[in-house]
Amino acid sequence: MLEMLEIFKNGNKLLGMNARNLDYIRPYNRKRAKRLADDKILSKRMLKRGGIPVPKLLAKIKSVEELEDFDWTSLPSSFALKPNRGYGGGGILVVYGRKKPSRKDILKCEEGEIPQPVWVKSDGKTITVDDIKNHILNILDGAFSLANMPDIAFFEERLTLLKLFKPYAYKGIPDIRVIVFNRIPVMAMLRLPTKESGGKANLQQGGIGVGIDLATGVTTTAVLGKGNIIDYVPGTRMLLSGIKIPYWKEMLLLAVKAQEVSGMGFLGADVAIDRERGPVFLEINARPGLSIQVANLSGLKERLERIKGLKIKTAARGVRVGRDLFGGEVEEEVEEISGRKVIGTIEKIKLIGRNNKTVELEAKIDTGAGFTSIDTDLAEQLGFEDTVREYQKIESTYSDIIHLSKKERWSIYKHIPHLESTVVVNSASGSTYRPTIKITVVMDGVIIPTKVTLINRAHLKYPIIIGKRNLKKFLIDVSK
């Protein structure tokens, strides 16, 4: 009984159909903006004007006359043919290359005439100008448009598949769906076309959706079709979690910018990555699906409610807020699995010195250093004034004492109060002989009692670097 109550309480965090339509689409997406989203050519133009990269429009055909007069040799060797008001990926024809005209084709032609081009589809079958004409007639007739309205056909640049995605995608191009609300990216997933979905990345058609951690752009859970959780690409051993999406920040930025251009408050933005061009914006969706919640094992409603009414001035700020608020699932997971904390290259730490004197500051994480080193000024703040004073009196340099025996060297330093030991430190600026003191470092909640070397770091940005010896309990994420 209690469990049931719990489920109903948690249901409040999820966005269902009713809430999506009533609380988000209706108040935030005006009719005019929705119409824009349904018109691919118009939205392409609007997005382009807003400085968002879109697949290039090669040509459009509005009527049968235009179709008859069309110059087929003007088309490149690969392109996509689409209905302007198509939905669910219907009526899209993609050709991958032009077939060289055979001798026979050339002989058939009159003198001085160029043979009609022939293209190759993804399944290897050839397709002639007549086939394409027939397809376009169907598009013009409205065979693929909502409510069978007469439509426009257009040719568009074909995007090329990123090498990274090759083993995961069946034909087609994977894309990234980002839900954007109030200029903030709220949730994202990678959509992979499968054999069942016929090369379309649409979940309803049987594609795979993979949740993405907003902060890092690393994939998390995968869902096949509308509800089954999977670990691998069906029929393979390709693990779906842990894929790092390239251009992550740029893609989020594109999604938020597209929201600004579209005039809609709540939308699904679809972005793909082209091998040459990088992130390319595909389309805006006024009624984004809800399965993204399954792929992320997380509720949209809870997230949307948290950012309702926030005043976000710029797209970059929105992206930052989204990543901060809704990212981090992966990090926690990595920490859980490895038993180590994930830290960045600059980390806020607390130092505890003599007589419990504490200093809080930012430290540089340096995996190239063995020992942790602290600046002499910092050591003074930590209650080692005597130590520093005595240390600075000693003028012998590294080359002076390197030939001495260990015992002789120690005798130079041993009168310094609170000294722990002395060590040789090899760094980029040459080797030095340094005394060490004992302090406690608190980093990301982990308490590390340790020896640190003393050195004058006054000319450096960070008065402390944390070296390898103290990093055993951590993983370092350079993007943090």
Binding site: I7, G11, K13, L14, G16, G227
Partner: protein
Amino acid sequence: MIQNLPVGRQGSKLEIQNLLDPMENVSPLIKYFIEQGVPLDTVILLLILPIVVTLIAFFRQVIGIKAFGIYTPAIVTFAFLAIPQLRYGVLIFCVVILVGMLLRFALKGLRILYLPRVAITLSIIAFSILILLSVGGAMQRTGLAAVSIFPILIMITIVEKFVAAQIEKGNRAAVILAIETLIISLVGYYLASWPALIKGIVAFPWMILITIPINIFLGKWDGLRLNEYIRFREVLKNLK
């Protein structure tokens, strides 16, 4: 006039004259309608309509059963009510959907436009129903052949909704929607032929007005639908 009810056929659940025999507890409003020459079954069906459509709205918004919009399940409910034996109604419904499904594959190769395609589908379904009725007659199932033409026509025309769903959402989704339509229509049928409800409407016709606040509530209901608890079960398990 109560004796000449067209719906009060033998075997039908809607034997209104039997229910009203003692003429007890009839609201003055109902009496007024009857005095003006409105047939009693028309009065009852028109008053039951708000209940049936509210039921359909409830199924969509709270349970998550979609069906083909609101018109189709409502009209199928009334078609069922007008057919003497429910099983024949269900049989005709299933045959219409089945033939519609098979024709989709048969007509795929033709690549023809929407309306001509629906026209061909409707024609062939009409022939199929004719064959069904005659087979029923040959098997001494006289009840089948006795089904009046309007419920049959209603059932045939719902195939347009089915074909539209096939095109927009695919075959599987269309079949699911058809099954959902059947389920809602059956629930609607049993509700509309529930004697206590009919007695209640006859006694207190104003009661029907509560469907309006109910629908206002349904129209503002933004909680999860019941089927969404199933769809999102994995997420619900993971939320803390």
